[in-house]
């Protein structure tokens, strides 16, 4: 039964990783910005959801709105006021990465100072687990996380294939020059990429806040995992990021079953390390890596 329990947990966590990784992958694929602060977006969304719900006592719909707005605003602001100036004068990969890492540190510590460093979680009626089978506890939240992840992916797929902006984003990842000749501004598209990519962390952030709980380092942890998922899945492939996110979530939980909690992160990164050495393009990545 423990196996089933961990599998169920793994699927929920995996769904959250998949969404966050998809957001990172979308941003990285279309703008080539290594947005390490994506984890900070996650943490902000989670904390503000918690604050709105538990601190201000708002209705959950408002709390979701607050969380989503803050994530999008944060992502877009970073794009406008941090990445854009850096890219204007140089924009080497590492410069962007260091700035992004820096902002991640700032956010993590600000959240810690404001909300405290301990673990927090909001209890919602949906968080209560029921014993569906002997030894298997599930809460409505488990299913909800997976269902909303599926909805998000379907919506994202529709957006990218059927809307003008979505097509522009996909074109941007393949050929920036082409985008310019079609009269779309890469800068404008970059804003959309950040807005959309940041929005994708919201479900994960909310379910984490309402489920397993959050601490200021949660963004960092989720980011590391999303990064692993993005690379294992193949940079630039949303499908790859999603599959790998799910896989890692499940692997992490099953590793707990056999090896103990302390090995879960190590397992993920061992997978990542071997992928980088033996198949750097990932599951679904484009053929070459330069």
């Amino acid at each position: 039964m423990l196996f089933l329990q961990l599998l169920a947990n793994g699927l929920q966590v995996g769904a959250i990783y998949a969404l966050t990784a998809a957001g990172f992958s979308l941003i990285f694929g279309s703008t080539k910005i290594f947005h390490f602060a994506h984890g900070a977006t996650f943490a902000i969304a989670a904390y503000l959801f918690h604050f709105a719900l538990a601190g201000l006592g708002l209705h959950w719909t408002f709390a979701v709105a607050v969380s989503a707005t803050s994530a999008v605003v944060f992502g877009v602001l970073l794009d406008r006021f941090m990445y854009a100036p850096i890219q204007r004068h140089e924009g080497s990969f590492f410069t962007v990465f260091v700035a992004s890492f820096g902002i991640g540190i700032v956010v993590q510590n600000l959240l810690g100072s404001v909300f405290g460093r301990g673990f927090m979680s909001v209890a919602t009626p949906l968080s209560n687990s029921v014993e569906v089978m002997p030894g298997l506890y599930l809460s409505p939240l488990n299913g909800l996380a997976i269902v909303s992840a599926i909805i998000c992916f379907v919506a994202l797929h529709f957006f990218l294939t059927h809307t003008f902006v979505g097509k522009g984003l996909r074109a941007l990842s393949e050929n920036p020059e082409l985008v310019r000749t079609f009269g779309l501004s890469p800068r404008r598209l970059s804003t959309y990429a950040f807005a959309l990519g940041s929005l994708l962390v919201v479900p994960g952030a909310i379910f984490t806040a309402a489920g397993t709980g959050i601490n200021p380092a949660v963004g960092h942890h989720v980011m590391l995992i999303s990064l692993a998922a993005t690379i294992v899945g193949g940079i630039g492939s949303l499908r790859g990021a999603a599959c790998a996110g799910l896989l890692i979530g499940v692997a992490e939980n099953l590793a707990m079953w056999k090896l103990g909690t302390q090995w879960s992160e190590a397992i993920t990164f061992a997978i990542l390390f071997f992928f980088i050495i033996f198949k750097p393009s990932g599951f679904f990545g484009r053929a070459t890596v330069s």
């Binding site: 990285f28 290594f34 941090m82 100036p85 850096i86 004068h89 140089e90 080497s92 990969f93 590492f94 410069t95 962007v96 990465f97 260091v98 700035a99 890492f101 820096g102 902002i103 991640g104 540190i105 700032v106 993590q108 510590n109 600000l110 810690g112 100072s113 590391l224 990064l227 692993a228 690379i231 940079i235 302390q262 090995w263 992160e265 190590a266 993920t268 990164f269 061992a270 990542l272 390390f273 980088i276 050495i277 750097p280 890596v289 330069s290």
Partner: protein, 293 residues
């Protein structure tokens, strides 16, 4: 008060060794490693082990520590040869996370989470070094030697080959450079020298645990290099001094809540990383503002 200052200076020189050796691969070889703390740790644990079970002699413990780090650094050289940019950063991150798990689980080598306690004082040809000022002298000498080694290397043909590979790998290949050997050598060298810092640290603290060798340390050292200025000699030294002095400087600002000092320190250096990348990506000591690698 003097004890306090001596302590700070020893720690600054230990971190200056780390930032100098990391700068060697970041600044000159273009290998952006986030796993430097791993070799700091391997150096520390190995030296501690040798000191406790074999001899606390500096000229035995430190070379063994360096050798251990050099061998394990091949794990970092491997991805450095295969991939670049974000892929390599991710690989080094992976190595760092793996190492932390091993450091906390491999109890016979590292003592697990509890760490290694009671590391004896280091000896120089049989004479124990335990007074803080003696220790400071010893670490400053190590730092100086390492700076000289690295400075000399980057001004030789080897240094030029490294920089050539950093600037254009394909052009370096087309000019006949054996990239595999050159890159591997630079990673091995940087890691072995970082192990010296680990050994000094272990001897100085006489107690070490995994807490000192986590991703945070790798990031801190990277921040020292970046903030100080990559591909310069004085940059990493300045960066190390600034970031180590920051917490003590903040303690003197009495209006700050003392419990928040740690956070404020991190916020300050996080902000410094952001602002520098926007306005002066070459770091504080940058001969060419606005355009360094």
């Amino acid at each position: 008060m003097t004890a306090y200052i001596l302590n700070l200076l020893v720690l600054i020189s230990v971190y200056a060794i780390l930032s100098t050796t990391l700068n060697f691969i970041i600044g000159y070889a273009g290998i952006f490693s986030l796993a430097h703390a791993v070799f700091f740790g391997i150096g520390g644990y190995t030296a501690a082990l040798v000191a406790m079970h074999v001899t606390p002699e500096f000229f035995v413990a430190v070379p063994v520590a360096m050798a251990a780090a050099a061998v394990t650094s091949l794990l970092l050289a491997l991805p450095a040869l295969r991939v670049r940019g974000e892929y390599f950063v991710a690989a080094s991150l992976g190595l760092q996370v793996l190492a932390v798990t091993l450091f906390s689980e491999w109890k016979s080598f590292t003592g697990g989470i509890g760490g290694v306690i009671g590391i004896p004082a280091v000896e120089l040809f049989g004479y124990p070094v335990y007074k803080p000022w003696q220790f400071l002298l010893m670490s400053l000498i190590c730092l100086t030697i390492i700076i000289v080694i690295i400075r000399t290397l980057v001004h030789t043909s080897f240094g030029r080959s490294l920089k050539a590979i950093r600037d254009s790998e394909s052009a370096a290949l087309a000019s006949g450079k054996n990239i595999t050997v050159i890159k591997t050598l630079s990673v091995v060298l940087s890691s072995a020298l970082a192990a010296v810092a680990g050994a000094l640290y272990a001897f100085y603290m006489s107690f070490i645990n995994v807490q000192s060798f986590m991703l945070d340390t790798s990031v801190l050292v990277m921040a020292m290099v970046i903030i100080g200025g990559t591909a310069t000699v004085s940059g990493p030294l300045l960066g190390a001094a600034l970031l180590m002095l920051l917490p003590s400087a903040l303690t003197y600002l009495s209006f700050l809540p003392q419990t928040e000092i740690g956070s404020i320190q991190q916020i300050v250096y996080g902000m410094a990383m952001v602002l520098l990348m926007i306005f002066r990506p070459g770091g504080i000591v940058s001969s060419h503002p606005g355009g360094s690698k």
